[in-house]
């Protein structure tokens, strides 16, 4: 058994900065756990504390039931894949992969056997006698994985292992990593800032922000029932749309229409301002859905600013007149996406909304379209602290 338990783990740096705040996390034996969050959220620090590369300021880390706080990395029996692979440049692929076994005093024939076995798994057999400098990015990445798997350790720790690969290779390696992990059934902690990676790879995903754990759950739980604005905005691509709403006497007033609150399991139901979220796929072209619009949801008119057709999907961008939504949790996400794409559009008094429509939809740019929104899928958040007001999310938290 090699479950990993973090119990109240905190990391305070010498300058007083708290990188990880009182983190509790149970990672079960054989589980693939993803730590995800924007850069600087403490996810890598948390991983490095599990590895033993970073001291633990307070709290306890247990691997396989034993407290490892005071053990050096070499005594924790874990293998780590680094973001830049950290291959030993003066050693061949074979030596790189066998280095840990050699240090452990395993005899030569056994090392050769294990290295060749791992090389077969990773399709590296013909490269065993080459140096890392002569390998391509994808091959180096596989060597780094190979170095981890020959050890048969208690756990794999991976620190953004795919972020240095180009987009196509990343998708390919992603499935390979997933296959490898399910075959080996070794407990894995995987750090990434890419929510797509998190959603596709993980058995469970832990979302972090500013050193604090926000929500831990399966990808579906995070997607359907985010506990707060941050998780709602971070998980999902394109991101969830947000708009201001007002609860008044059992009715929820939105820029696109009015909803009866009885249909939503909203907790408390105090009158006042709320932030409302709705995912792009919960919109549809009225002409496409037909009867469904009568059962639930609201229809509204919108002037389409832009249409992106990807063949399988069609994204329609439109805007609604509103004051906009203010929340520091969302500001974190916007900053991150600005950093990554270098683009971002903020217009005063307008809120940009993305709708994912059926590809047969006939909506056109600069024309007014009849759209439908599935109000059963609305997410409501407290504008003060960003927490979800829906019961289902409350219960998960």
């Amino acid at each position: 058994m090699s479950e990993i338990v973090l119990d109240g783990v905190t990391k305070t740096f010498a300058d007083g900065f708290e990188a990880v705040k009182d983190m509790d996390l149970d990672i079960q034996d054989g589980e693939f756990m993803i730590l995800v969050g924007p850069s600087g959220c403490g996810k890598s620090t948390a991983l490095r504390m599990i590895a033993g590369l970073e001291d633990i300021s307070s709290g306890e880390v247990k691997i396989g039931g034993e407290t490892v706080n005071d053990r050096s990395p070499k005594d924790r029996d874990i293998a780590m894949v680094f973001q830049n692979y950290a291959l030993y440049p003066h050693m061949t692929v074979r030596e790189n992969m066998g280095f840990a076994l050699k240090l452990a005093g395993v005899d030569k024939s056994e090392i050769d056997k294990k290295v060749e076995e791992a090389a077969r798994t990773l399709d590296l057999e013909q490269h065993l006698d080459r140096r890392p400098a002569n390998l391509s990015g994808g091959q180096r990445q596989r060597v780094a994985m190979g170095r981890a798997i020959v050890r048969d350790p208690k756990a794999f720790l991976m620190d953004e292992p795919l972020s240095n690969l180009d987009a196509k290779l990343r998708v390919q390696m992603r499935t390979e990593v997933a296959k490898l992990q399910s075959k080996l059934e070794t407990t894995t902690v995987y750090v990434t800032h890419d929510q797509t990676e998190a959603m596709t790879l993980g058995d469970r995903v832990a979302v972090m922000r500013a050193g604090a754990l926000q929500q831990v759950g399966t990808p579906a739980e995070l997607y359907d029932n985010p506990v707060n604005l941050f998780v709602a905005g971070f998980i999902g691509s394109p991101a969830m749309n947000f708009m201001p709403g007002e609860i008044n006497g059992g009715k929820l007033k939105l820029p696109i229409g009015e909803v009866d609150l009885d249909k939503l399991d909203v907790e408390g139901r105090r009158d006042g301002q709320v932030i409302v979220g709705l995912r792009p796929e919960n919109f549809e072209d009225v002409e496409v859905i037909g009867d469904l619009k009568e059962e639930r949801g609201i229809t509204f008119e919108a002037e389409i600013d832009l249409v992106e057709s990807l063949g399988s999907d069609l994204y329609a961008y439109f805007h609604i007149e509103s004051e906009g939504v203010q929340s520091d949790q969302l500001a974190d996400i916007v900053e991150e996406s600005l950093d990554e794409t270098g683009a971002g559009e903020i217009r005063e008094g307008h809120e940009q909304i993305v709708a994912r429509l059926d590809p047969t939809s006939k909506v056109k740019r600069r024309e007014t379209a009849q759209l439908w929104a599935d109000t059963a899928k609305l997410h409501l958040f407290d504008p003060e602290n960003g927490e979800s007001l829906r019961q289902a999310a409350k219960e998960r938290a």
């Binding site: 293998a79 830049n84 692979y85 950290a86 030993y88 440049p89 240090l103 890392p132 400098a133």
Partner: protein, 280 residues
């Protein structure tokens, strides 16, 4: 394509000019060293009859009578000892500066730079007096100490620059792989640092090997006089012949070890072994 082949041609010409400019004096020196005394002034670049008499005269009379063997031993000994001490000390210092945050780090670097900038000539006078008082005048130690003073800053600078380039994540990777800190250092960091250490060692060795100022000022006999200083005391066959031929021969002999050194290690220096350690 046309553009790049023209660039290539221009570069080739430029490099050829530089190489010719640098090599002609050396070839000239070799030419002189191979001429008999009476042909020295024949104004021929290629000697009409080659003679090795100048080289023979250097080593004539064995260790006691030869004007060259004892200085050669002094040069090799002093340069090697200085290089060894300098590299060991500079490695420790550079490692600390590259890896650790400690108060006074900038002061050490600034101090090293200041010493490297200091004109050696201004230390010669005081050293001469001090060394005579301390009994270090005309000893190996008397030269090794000032050489260390001026070679340490050089070695520290080269090594700091080099150590900073080493991806220290490799050390952590080794620790996760089960290495003790000492193993991580010897099996991963040292092999990567080796080219930098060789570079620094060669620079220090050449500095000591070439020095004339301290060698001429702080020695008085073959007990510690190094080759560059000894060349100045060469005598001709008679009091009327200049020792040009033997000086040229000696210059060629002392140049050879440096060339061999650099040729052996240049691949290690240039190789840039770290390529491919991290994403490239």
């Amino acid at each position: 394509m046309e553009r790049s082949s023209r660039d290539y041609a221009l570069w080739t010409i430029a490099i050829a000019l530089v190489v010719i400019f640098a090599l002609i004096p050396v070839l000239w020196l070799i030419s002189i060293s191979l001429k008999p005394p009476e042909a020295l002034t024949d104004q021929k670049f290629i000697p009409s009859d080659v003679s090795f008499d100048n080289y023979k005269s250097l080593f004539e009379g064995g260790i006691d009578d030869s004007p060259f063997i004892k200085p050669l031993i002094n040069s090799i000994g002093i340069a090697l000892i200085t290089t060894a001490i300098s590299i060991v000390l500079a490695s420790f210092c550079a490692y600390a500066i590259a890896r650790l945050e400690f108060p006074g780090k900038r002061v050490i670097l600034a101090g090293a730079l200041a010493i490297a900038m200091f004109p050696p000539i201004s230390t010669v006078g005081p050293l001469f007096d001090m060394w005579r008082a301390l009994g270090l005048y005309d000893t190996w130690l008397g030269l090794i100490i000032p050489y260390l003073t001026f070679s340490l800053p050089l070695a520290i600078y080269v090594l700091v620059a080099f150590f900073r380039e080493i991806p220290w994540e490799l050390e952590q990777a080794a620790q996760v792989d089960g290495a003790t800190p000492f193993q991580a250092f010897t099996k991963v960091i040292v092999p990567l640092a080796a080219p930098g250490v060789f570079t620094a060692a060669i620079l220090v060795f050449i500095f000591c090997w070439n020095d004339f100022l301290f060698a001429i000022s702080l020695t008085s006999s073959d007990a510690s006089r190094t080759v560059p200083a000894a060349l100045a005391f060469f005598t001709g066959e008679s009091s009327f012949t200049a020792p040009t031929g033997s000086i040229a021969a000696a210059a060629v002999v002392v140049t050879v070890p440096i060339i061999v050194f650099v040729l052996i290690f240049q691949r290690r220096i240039v190789a840039g072994l770290t390529a491919g350690a991290v994403k490239g």
